[in-house]
Amino acid sequence: MKRVYVNEEWCLGCHLCEYNCAFANSGLDDMAYALKGKKIFPRIHVESGDKICFAVSCRHCTDPICVKSCIAGAISKVDGVVKIDRSKCVGCLTCVLVCPYGALAPGENGTMQKCELCLENSCGAPACVEGCPNKAIVYEERGEEE
């Protein structure tokens, strides 16, 4: 299946992916209205070191430990995509405790959110990738099929 992959050599650390993610998942059609002056809660985040930066989002692991660990049964894997039912989430953060990549974080209301590849919002494909100015994140098939 297609996933989001990182080409860290190309990441400029511009954080545009975070804004495009927050906008894509806002349900609104005006970016300025959706984001301006607000604290954003993107499902991708840029990590920066001295010489390197790259964007981290859900790896959609073949054997996702978050699915097995969720105390509410709110996280599931459907057709390879790891999804969260936020109405069931109580914000216990067990998924944060177990995700080896640091790919889950609470949203504005305290329930957890994660990358679901924009498959169910109006984008239909990852907005972070679409908007990345330097192709530092790509959405493609790599490695084995499940």
Binding site: R3, Y5, V6, N7, E8, E47, S48, G49, I52, F54, V56, R59, C61, T62, I65, K68, S69, I71, A72, G73, S87, K88, V90, G91, C92, L93, T94, C95, V96, L97, V98, C99, P100, Y101, G102, L104, A105, R142, G143, E144
Partner: protein
């Protein structure tokens, strides 16, 4: 067609069902469920009392789960004994259920010390099951003075759950600190302070020695007047079926990495099982939900003839009180490194070039990066651990490792 039987209907049972079905789509699965409910998320009972979930959302799996997995569930059925020669389970109602492979996922039961006069207390509750919680819910009023015996995870989550519904809450524990199974003294004091700011009162290093109706007479000589008593002193793994059948039992049912007991064809998983703790290298009951699911799944795969081992279990907990989050993992028998600011405290425990444990208070972002260092036993000299102490980050990994993690299928 192979017949699978699962005793218990909680998280480990679900893992077992899904594990079996990953290998065998057609074998018969019978679930012996003491509780008369489809599987629900047990740790959510306190969140229900807080109004953060409801009975529908507490369902751990969808309504068609048993049907989709072709399982027969015997609700209200209690397993009385196990006949290992005939491979049958005798139920308390006299019926027998035959199996080719059995998984005991019977969980644990509250341990109630023999308090003198406990029988004179009218409103007393455990806080383990949905029914326990619903009974407590119907008993509490805005005027209730609640005494909770036990300052562990169960007692304190109960306190948080009911604190808006009652007049006062006092928590007593024989231990000298709250959450003594997962916090050291300093961290426990910080958490206790936070709980006290939210109106919970504590009587630590103290316990009730005698009850007389609405009065608890404490070891310290003090007395506590209460309307509602919650008994959350501890739990005991439900091991009697295996023990009585001649299987090996310690604090829990002893299992190997495949979750097999030493009775042929019989597996165990979840809070009743004592499996391998990779953080200490010894067997231990690790009564946490992730391990229940993974242990159950592992048992299921092996019961159905597949091959799976569960060899990287570690103790770990994520628990919050009144918006303050606590995460712990591993063990603390190492050199301590501390990171601290006004609102948060992190303690890392290091031994033999490995991160072996941590306690995080109030700063838990991306903590799974730390947990994975423990689980994977990552040598610290192969990463830049210094970088990650203040904030967990994947920058610590060498480039080729990062390429695998973020450029490949994981």
């Amino acid at each position: 067609m192979k017949q699978y039987v699962i005793i218990g209907n909680g998280t480990a049972a679900v893992g077992c069902i899904e594990g079996i079905r990953s290998v065998d789509k057609t074998g018969g699965i019978t679930v012996i469920s003491k509780e008369k409910h489809p599987v629900y998320s047990r740790p959510l009972i306190s969140y229900y009392l807080e109004g953060k979930t409801d009975l529908e959302k507490m369902k751990y799996r969808g309504n068609s789960f048993y049907r989709d997995n072709n399982c027969k569930v015997l609700y209200g059925a209690i397993a009385a004994s196990l006949n290992k020669e005939n491979k049958t389970v005798l139920l308390e109602n006299g019926k027998t259920v035959a199996f080719d492979a059995l998984c005991v996922a019977a969980g644990s039961a509250p341990f109630i010390p023999p308090f003198e006069g406990l029988d004179t207390v009218k409103d007393k509750f455990s806080f383990m099951t949905l029914d326990d919680m619903l009974a407590l819910e119907s008993a509490v009023t805005k005027e209730s003075r609640v005494l909770i015996a036990g300052a562990g995870l169960i007692g304190l989550k109960c306190a948080e759950g009911i604190h808006n519904r009652v007049k006062s809450i006092t928590v007593c524990d024989l231990a000298d600190r709250v959450l003594s199974s997962i916090l050291d003294i300093d961290c426990a004091a910080t958490v206790q302070n936070h709980l006290e700011e939210n109106g919970i009162e504590f009587m630590l290093s103290d316990t009730a020695v005698r009850f007389d109706k609405n009065t608890a007479y404490m070891k310290s000589g003090k007395t506590v007047e209460f309307d509602i008593l919650v008994l959350a002193v501890g739990v005991r793994a439900s091991t009697s079926l295996i023990k009585n059948a001649g299987g090996s039992v310690n604090r829990g049912i002893i299992v190997n990495e495949k979750m097999e007991t030493d009775i042929n064809g019989v597996f165990a998983a979840g809070d009743c099982a004592e499996g391998y703790d990779s953080s200490t290298g010894a067997n231990r009951v690790l009564a946490i939900l992730p391990n229940a699911y993974i242990g159950g799944y592992t048992a299921g795969v092996n019961m159905a003839g597949g091959e799976k081992a569960f060899n990287n279990a570690i103790p770990m907990n994520s628990i919050g009180f009144f918006g303050y989050h606590i995460m712990t993992a591993g063990n603390y028998d190492g050199e301590m490194i501390e990171e601290k600011d006004d609102t948060s405290l992190k303690r890392f425990f290091i031994k033999d070039n490995r991160l072996i444990g941590f306690i995080l208070l109030g700063a838990t972002d991306r903590a799974g990066i730390y947990t994975s260092l423990i689980r994977e036993k990552t040598p610290l000299d192969t990463i830049d651990f210094e970088l990650t102490k203040k904030a967990a980050t994947n920058i610590i990994y060498k480039k080729e490792i990062r390429r695998k993690k973020f450029g490949g299928v994981v």
